[in-house]
Symmetry: C2
DNA sequence: CCTTGACTTGAAGTCGACTTCAACTTCTAG
DNA sequence: CTAGAAGTTGAAGTCGACTTCAAGTCAAGG
């Protein structure tokens, strides 16, 4: 497959594909000429990359899971750790959501007077959300 | 209060405080000389900023909620919308977490052979997570 | 043969929320 | 009075994941 084919099938722009290759996440061959050709397995790898990104992994972390050839060697510990991170994030997000929802519905003339809102404020101020909620997951 | 006082009380570095002021999120006065002095209400405003950030609002969005003086005028619609966004995110995250957890525990020799993992891959590949989960919330 | 469109490269730009820097001014304690 | 700590400014740097650009190469169709 050539780059545009892969791009079409995955929806990933060719610029991103080149970037992934440059970063060592995928590989290509140059059969004739200087144009890239991809093995069909690249699609699986790209799916794995998408998954890793969705899980909040950085590209560098994902690379370590993609062995050059053969099946990916997945770091189960890392996955479990990421799952824990995500769960923690979910917990905080649930609090945020209900807090926001209350604030949106709160009939108090000014939110400064609303106890729930005060609580929310305090939670946010207290760094209950750590440093902008973790920074590792997300972004 | 001077800038270092505010910084100490909130944990927000003075550089960030100047940045917020430059962005129009907070205000200060220069009583004598050119040094900033902050009214105590700035603490509330900073708490609100922290809250907004935790909710995934951009600083520019937060600014519109902080009226120059007096109580903040909160956009209830925006809050509700953000809560919806967060709920959607939570939904996706829950799927990710359980998927990851399964993948971490999965006894299959290679994840390529594990149906759950395949499902995860497909979900990630299908853009079920939109463009890197929304981009508005988070970051 | 020649045009056109797809591909190649390395380098530079983007986004948001800050941080860091250099150069300077000002406040405070001794 | 003076040293040094703390404050001021605008400009530039940072991070990650890309995108965009300029300039050049190449392959297929007419």
């Amino acid at each position: 497959m050539d780059i545009s084919e892969v791009s079409k099938q995955t929806g990933i722009p060719s610029s991103a594909l080149r970037y992934y290759e440059q970063k060592g996440l995928i590989t290509s061959v140059r059969e004739k000429g200087e144009r890239r050709r991809y093995a069909p397995t690249v699609l699986d790898q790209l799916a794995l990359i998408a998954l890793g990104q969705a899980a909040g992994l950085a590209l560098d972390e994902i690379r370590s899971m993609l062995s050059p050839y053969g099946p990916p060697n997945i770091d189960r510990q890392l996955l479990a750790a990421k799952a824990d991170e995500i769960d923690a994030l979910i917990k905080r997000l649930r609090a945020m959501s209900s807090g926001l929802r209350h604030a949106a519905a709160c009939p108090a003339p000014s939110h400064v007077e609303c106890p729930s809102f005060q609580k929310l404020l305090k939670a946010a101020a207290t760094g209950a959300l750590e440093k902008r909620w973790g920074k590792k997951i997300c972004c």
